[in-house]
């Protein structure tokens, strides 16, 4: 089962220390650009997986370990964070 990026807003705030649902990312596979809030999110896994809504490419994973969150952003070409 999946949800959208809004459902992971709290976890994203823990990692980036700001509201990230308005941040835009570009998929490293198909080039789709859109807000993280529109990512397809699988949260019932060993970590939280953000996938591109266009091509299913894994944009980002967040793994919650004791005392730290491990973030992998390898599927993003870039991430634009509003300031």
């Amino acid at each position: 089962m999946h949800v959208d990026g809004n459902a992971a807003a709290g976890l994203l705030t823990q990692v980036f220390a700001r509201d990230m649902t308005g941040a835009h990312g570009t998929c490293g596979s198909c080039g789709h650009n859109g807000p993280l809030a529109e990512a397809v999110v699988y949260g019932e896994a060993a970590g939280t997986v953000f996938r591109c809504p266009t091509c299913d490419n894994v944009l980002m994973t967040l793994v919650e370990a004791p005392g730290r969150i491990l973030a992998r952003l390898a599927g993003l070409r870039w991430l634009a964070v509003p300031i």
């Binding site: 999946h2 896994a45 060993a46 970590g47 997986v49 996938r51 299913d56 894994v58 793994v63 491990l70």
Partner: protein, 198 residues
Amino acid sequence: MSVISQGFQGRGRRDDRLPPGQYETHDFPVLSAGPTPYISVDEWQFTIDTEDGARHTWSWQDLMALPKSTPHVDIHCVTRWSKFDTDWEGVSLDVLLEDVESAAEYALVSSYGGYTTNLPLEDLLDGKAWIAYAFDGRPLAPEHGGPARLLVPHLYFWKSAKWVRGIRLLDQDEPGFWETAGYHNYGDPWHEQRYWGD
């Protein structure tokens, strides 16, 4: 006269069978990192690629023609649930690797849908791993990895790749999906190897 029964306890005491940090569940939770691929047995194919580039391929009919095993095992998920006394049906990797010539030390398992996971080749040998196609006497459901998944119960269950489609034998270790995302490269539940650095 009252009769006190400890009930069925399977092989050994239950607390001896629970790795550190785990709890027992009687459900079979479904965890997925992506959409469930629906692969018909007509299109299903399993390959083993050696470090020399040789490819060995099995169709579903080929797999069904091989000697089957019925492993009865406990399984342990890194999200902390363990499930005792699970019954599977499948083909041992010893059978599939019997005629594969390789001096590789590592394996990278890949799935329909793009998932990957890595482990030392020796962890697939000597009766420790199977390509499983049935659970509890029924064909393996897609949400649990059907039509076939890897079963490596001595490691955390993310190593038991759902929707398995192939194994590459490698001279150098190559971390898979969760291993590159921060999980432990090996994943021994008895040593609580959950994350990188554990």
